[in-house]
Amino acid sequence: MRVALFVTCVNDTLFPRTGRAVVRLLERLGVEVDFPPAQTCCGQPQYNSGYRHQAEPLVRRHAAAFDGYDHVVTPSASCAAMVRDNHPRIGARAAAEGRGRALADAAAASLPRTYELTEFLVDVLGVTDVGAYYPHTVTYHPTCHGLRVLGLGDRPRRLLEHVGGLVLRELEGAEECCGFGGTFAVRNAAVSAAMGADKARRIRATGAGAVCMVDNSCLMHIGGTLARLGSPVRPVHIAEILASTEEDVR
């Protein structure tokens, strides 16, 4: 099984710990991981901001970078959603504009092989107990694209429930958006901040020491809000929890 890590541009640049955790976790589970260095970004910032034509070369690059792998795994629900939901859409629009089928075909090829990390663990590897140990109280915020576009369902929770030492706390209004939304956070800063503040307040109300997500972009927004509020709640990507073992704690 040839598995490629699609680390995403945000994780590559700002959260390399998450990428390293995915590698450690998958290798512990016996998966051989490769990192195709030609990868950069899935084009989500461009596409979601209305620059579809700017996203096209990135769709093409992404498809070429991951060509030939059995599975592509990414620790980002929104980037997985971009590849699965929007790359085919961008390809189809290019074809409809009379620019040929090449982009559509490239997008279609990478689509069925792309998995968000928890999907890959539960659906492909068939594990919910990954042998992790994380002795903390944790609450889980299901990010919008994981929840609604990918339909991750209870996969992340099932994985967390099998982590040794971890106590899971319910989050009120868990399914409500944290207010990040890419450029929305800057363009509609007041509404974004209000949404983030409400989310941060509910996270603090759980009494958990950490809040866990499947997406570092939302985590950056929530974590930044918590930090500015002086909250000790630690934002942490699920990959880092799942990669932790008893040896790490000692």
């Binding site: 680390v7 541009c9 590559d12 640049t13 700002l14 959260f15 390399p16 710990r17 990428g19 390293r20 990192f35 260095p37 030609a38 950069t40 970004c41 084009g43 910032p45 461009q46 596409y47 979601n48 901001s49 209305g50 620059y51 579809r52 700017q54 996203a55 070369p57 990135l58 690059r61 859409r89 919008c144 694209h145 929840l147 609604r148 576009v149 399914e175 409500e176 958006c177 207010g179 939304g181 450029t183 929305f184 956070a185 800057v186 363009r187 509609n188 007041a190 509404v191 901040a193 209000a194 949404m195 983030g196 503040a197 950056m220 927004h221 974590g223 930044g224 809000t225 930090a227 500015r228």
Partner: protein
């Protein structure tokens, strides 16, 4: 759309002001969360909800593809049943037609059934300029009208008001419009409803002309349908002699069988009811006024009869109207032969385009025309909850407004250009939409129109529009980012520069970055990118 919304600030500015209004946020939060929870329970009762939703979307799509056919069929059926059909290309034309029709009756006061379409065209204001007073009869619309306010929700236009505010509005303004508020009016819901009831009853018994929209038009019989909770619309539809219905051309459904699908979806999605309390249907005209044959409450029926008797006793019509009536009766007889005319004495259907045909020409954006105005998307939208309905600058607020308004009105104004960006793309709206409008898809599609420009249809003609102003810096940044991201070596260099200068990064940023660092700490740039870590530890060569 309505001129009353001209000159409003762009969404971000209006929304920012709303987020600072604690009372407004409290009112909105309480109301939307209550109704969204009830809706979820009502929807969960139906095991076949996903199939109903898919059926509704398919019916609407098919109808929109053949809209010309179904509109002609509707016109023929309405005409055969004794009604008169008028076609209005835009708001101004629709307002002219309605004003002319009201003037022909000699009346200067008309009753309104709650209608989004008439708000879209600014009908009340247009009638006002012609010396005709239009009185809203829906309780929430009455509150909005008395308060000289704007509606802020599709289903609950006064959602932004609490009970104390409503009491104050009733006390201060009811006397100006008719029967004043009772002395010592309190703020409990029963008292407030009773005050509105007494105020409105006078109007119901006096009115000769009513104006409505419609939730649906059934093409095969030319039947119009209004669903409501209060029964005030039913009063307007049955008591007055003349009924003028202004209906968007997208409201047509081909058959009664199709209608059955929507009558299951709409109440559960909008009010979380299994069935709405009042479903009124009318087809063309009838010889007598007391004709509604749908299930009425005894009280409403009794009131309808009393009013009809009162009117019969005072029967002495001007000659001009008698002429109209004679003509109508002839058509009504023809309609009765055709099988079932049961409307008011005179019925006019004004079919409104106002940007709908142009919207239909856009294969991605046209799905907005499926909307049945249930407002479920508003009630789950975290942006609407904080921004309030007024920030959207049109009668259509929330996620549906963010995609419908810029299509109906175009994206020329700053406000309309800002609407497609009034969303975090969380997808909650798509999830609840009973006709499966992929609102995030349309939002992104319209963002493209604003950011990159492109070809659109306006006034039935293809037009090339330029990118909206204010996007030049963003466009340049996107291009630069795209170039970097298309060159992994450049990305790696940029990452290394960021890492090496990490100790120098400011805690708060100027310019557009200030919006981020005002309320959020920036993430710290790590000493080493993942890419560099991989190359260092796995010993694999250059990134190209």
């Amino acid at each position: 759309m309505s001129g009353t919304y001209l000159g409003m600030p762009s969404f971000p500015r209006a929304a920012a002001a709303a987020t600072r209004d604690g009372t407004l946020r409290g009112n909105l939060r309480h109301a939307t969360h209550t109704i969204r929870d009830k809706r979820a329970r009502a929807v969960a009762e139906l095991a076949d909800w996903p199939r109903l939703r898919a059926a509704a979307a398919a019916i609407k799509e098919r109808t929109l593809r053949h809209l010309d056919h179904y509109l002609v069929q509707t016109e023929a059926a309405v005409t055969a049943a004794g009604g008169t059909v008028h076609w209005a290309a835009d708001a101004a034309e629709a307002n002219r037609i309605v004003t002319r029709l009201v003037r022909a009756t000699g009346e200067t006061e008309v009753l309104k059934v709650k209608s989004m379409t008439t708000q879209e065209i600014g009908l009340n204001e247009a009638l006002g300029r012609a010396g005709i007073t239009a009185c809203e009869t829906d309780l929430a619309e009455l509150i909005v009208q008395l308060g000289e306010d704007r509606p802020s929700h599709i289903l609950v236009p006064a959602i932004h008001r609490n009970r104390a505010e409503i009491r104050d509005i009733f006390r201060a303004r009811m006397a100006d419009w008719g029967r004043p508020a009772p002395d010592g009016l309190g703020d409990n819901p029963t008292e407030l409803a009773e005050a509105a009831r007494l105020h409105l009853r006078e109007k119901f018994l006096r009115a000769k002309v009513a104006i409505s929209g419609a939730n649906f038009m059934v093409a095969e019989t030319g039947t119009l349908v209004v669903v409501e909770s209060e029964g005030n619309g039913r009063m307007c539809l049955t008591l007055p002699e003349t009924l003028i219905s202004v209906v968007g051309i997208e409201k047509v459904v081909p058959t009664w069988r199709d209608l059955g699908v929507f009558l299951q979806l709409l109440p559960r999605s909008s009010t979380a009811e299994r069935m709405n309390p009042y479903t009124s249907m009318w087809t063309g005209t009838a010889e007598t006024a007391e004709t509604a044959e749908t299930a009425e409450t005894a009280e409403t029926a009794a009131e309808a009869r009393a009013a009809a008797e009162a009117r019969a006793a005072a029967e002495a019509r001007p000659g001009a109207r008698a002429g109209t009536r004679t003509g109508t009766e002839t058509r009504a007889e023809a309609g009765a032969r055709a099988g079932g005319a049961d409307g008011p004495r005179a019925f006019h259907l004004v079919l409104l385009d106002n940007g709908r045909t142009d919207t239909l020409a856009d294969t991605v954006g046209r799905q907005a025309l499926r909307c049945i105005r249930c407002s479920a998307c508003l009630n789950v939208c975290p942006v609407y909850e904080r921004a309030g309905g007024h920030a959207y600058g049109s009668p259509y607020p929330g996620p549906i407004g963010a995609i419908l308004t810029p299509q109906l009105r175009g994206t020329e104004s700053e406000l309309d250009a800002s609407l497609p960006f009034a969303s975090s793309l969380c997808g909650a709206c798509y999830e609840v939409c009973p006709v499966a409008i992929d609102i995030p898809e349309v939002l992104v599609h319209l963002r493209e129109r604003v950011a990159e420009g492109g070809i659109v249809t306006r006034g039935g003609k293809k037009a090339v529009i330029r990118p909206a102003r204010g996007h030049a810096a963003e466009r340049a940044a996107m291009r630069a980012a795209r170039w970097t991201l298309d060159h992994p070596a450049a990305l790696r260099t940029a990452q290394r520069i960021a890492s090496r200068t990490r100790r120098l990064h400011p805690r708060r940023l100027p310019g557009p970055g200030r919006a981020w660092t005002g309320t959020r700490a920036l993430p710290e740039v790590p000493p080493e990118s993942f890419r560099d870590w991989w190359a260092r530890t796995r010993g694999q060569g250059s990134p190209e």
